[in-house]
Symmetry: C2
Amino acid sequence: MTALSKSEQAYRLIRERIDSGRYVPGYRLVLAPIAAELDMSVVPVREAIRRLEAEGLVTFELNVGAQVALIEETEYQHTMQTLAIVEGAATGLIADGVTEDQLTRARAINERMRDTLEHFDPQRFTELNLEFHSVLFETCPNPHILDLVHRGWNRMKVLRESSFSFVPGRARESVEEHDRILRLLGERAPAIEVELAAREHRLATLHAVLEQQHQAKHRAESSAA
Amino acid sequence: MTALSKSEQAYRLIRERIDSGRYVPGYRLVLAPIAAELDMSVVPVREAIRRLEAEGLVTFELNVGAQVALIEETEYQHTMQTLAIVEGAATGLIADGVTEDQLTRARAINERMRDTLEHFDPQRFTELNLEFHSVLFETCPNPHILDLVHRGWNRMKVLRESSFSFVPGRARESVEEHDRILRLLGERAPAIEVELAAREHRLATLHAVLEQQHQAKHRAESSAA
DNA sequence: CCGCGATAGATCGTATATCATTTGAGATAT
DNA sequence: ATATCTCAAATGATATACGATCTATCGCGG
């Protein structure tokens, strides 16, 4: 009835804790305590950590051990840029086969996102955002691309909690960009157009965050002077 | 002096054998014999196989074991399509920062490819092709995208050996498309233009292979009738 | 003759034990 | 005071052993 190997259990636990931020970047994943907590030996825990390593969520050093992947300044940029590319591509790929039902549901989700703009809840907004894109990706014919999108999302989960805060006003733009993507899909625009719109959608968020960081830095410097 | 863990040794051995085609798709990776051959216990071998699983080179089933990933008809398409997207993106990203030195070396490699067209050697051609793109990717600022490209190449290694043969005439076109990409890069064309050219380059190969398969199938059917 | 259940062999999954490596604290010498 | 050396504790890496699970074969009953 378990149908779940111990290494799978360990994987899920560690993964969940990284996602939730309980294991922050830099946290050392020591085998023995984790194994003890899960009431298993270290062997399955090692396997779980190896999987996480292959996914880029933890870094590893021979005879030293694993720690939750650290994020450099540029890491966020690269992840977002990559996500923009693969998410854009995935959206472009659905352009030809998107159904009216999908569009209807996506529109509904986007309206709910619009509603939340009044009493804004970043957590909820992010959830709805994932839902929005997930609905569209349902009919993506290329599972590889979808896999890359999901990897990107997972990576973002780690990054989000760290030092990258929310950008005011970006949510509203985001909803409008969703409108635009839905409109393009609805009027059966060329796939490349849809792709680039989706890509820009993600890149716009990246640029907004970078801009905000730049300004925050500038403020800090002038106040220090 | 070893500086190499056993699980790493196991990983490399298995990986090399998958790449070289010695372990064909469907081949069952049984722990004990591999461990015996490498003179180690099964534990590091398991870890190695887990890594390969995370990379998609082998599939895994609980309590049954691992086998080299099988390729369905559509798998090749999806892999090539994904590779077209990420390789295109990577090429687009270098557009702004490409150096004259890179272009010179890439041109030289492409000329060597042109030379091999006379007495054609698919193996050699593929090597040079990788070299060509590698030279360009040297300055790619986004390591994530590069990683995706390499994953794609690895995946292709597995697929190439299987059932997807060479397409006559495609090599010459390929060299010409390389010329085109180099020309765009040389005249500092917009990144998106470079990206789409590189993407098309890869997609053209995909379409050529599909077309050839379609014709082969058609021939088989009419001769059967 | 075919289908189904029992059984044995193969193989995987995990625990325990041991060896190897790293790291840091304390001692010692310069 | 600082640098380096030594050694012990912590931790990772691997081997071995055993129990669990699957798979294929064989025999039995329909």
